[in-house]
Symmetry: C2
Subunit: 138 residues, 2 copies
DNA sequence: TAAATTTGCTTGCGTTTTGCAAGTGCAAAT
DNA sequence: ATTTGCACTTGCAAAACGCAAGCAAATTTA
């Protein structure tokens, strides 16, 4: 199941071909906030993604090497999803989304705090966050 | 025709509710590159959006105040679409998409040049681009 | 000034994707 | 040995998409 049909050579278009839908970046968000997620973790998220859609998006993101599937240290029944470097590199983009949203929506207190930290020192915030995502990369 | 149903309070989710699809950011891209577009201009783009989809996305982006519809100075038969401030504020996000894509895809020469300029001075590039988009805002 | 063309859409319709619920198979716990 | 947990898969109705054709108003051409 490969979805690698490019509509054009435009980088915006090629990027949207991978994660340009309502769900993919929410999966990436969960992985940025939690570092590693099980299938069930994604289902627990506030937006209530349907399980078949989740499966298809995880497959797509894995095919495109944005996420990695690893065995869970606790049990063979569990799976651990993590961001690859390609996924981690989406962090600056996610930061900009938060900044845009901060200007036009009301953010939950928790996220607002994060955005304020970004405003204080964007570059530092991003570097620190990326470094922490890169810990014990297995 | 209002599509303002929020899946959650998460800013990523709220943002995706507006432009989280395969086409909306391509419309925004066209407007960032051309400053103002007619309906026909969007249809001419490389990705070949279907006319009914284009109409629905323009409506959605207008409902959400990302774009503005103006009368064309040359003719009543034409319409001019432009970015609102809210749309212009998506520019830093678009820059990050280009940077991400530059790392993982091969960019067309023209766009590659732009990305190199961004790498030289991101903040300056963004400020200059935004200033130029804000000229004669009518 | 009548006819043809341009422009910005809308409509119909078959195909694909989504969303919801239920089901399946393997692993682990009881 | 049976129940529970986990990661999916399947079925199906509803919505969204994509393509082609149609349409009304404005403009250009003959």
């Amino acid at each position: 199941m490969k979805n690698l049909k490019k509509r054009s050579e435009c980088p915006i278009s090629s990027s949207l071909d991978i994660w340009g839908d309502k769900w993919s970046l929410l999966i990436v968000r969960d992985l940025m906030l939690l570092k590693a997620c099980t299938y069930g973790d994604f289902l627990k998220s506030e937006e209530k993604i349907a399980t078949n859609i989740l499966a298809s998006r995880l497959q797509m993101l894995e095919d495109n090497e944005v996420i990695l599937k690893q065995e869970h240290p606790d049990s063979k029944a569990k799976v651990l999803y993590k961001l690859s470097q390609k996924g981690i590199d989406l962090f600056p983009l996610m930061v900009e989304i938060n900044l845009w949203a901060d200007k036009y929506f009301t953010l939950p207190a928790e996220r607002k705090k994060m955005v304020e930290a970004v405003k204080r020192d964007k570059q530092g915030f991003i570097e620190e966050a990326i470094a922490s995502m890169q810990e014990q990369p297995k």
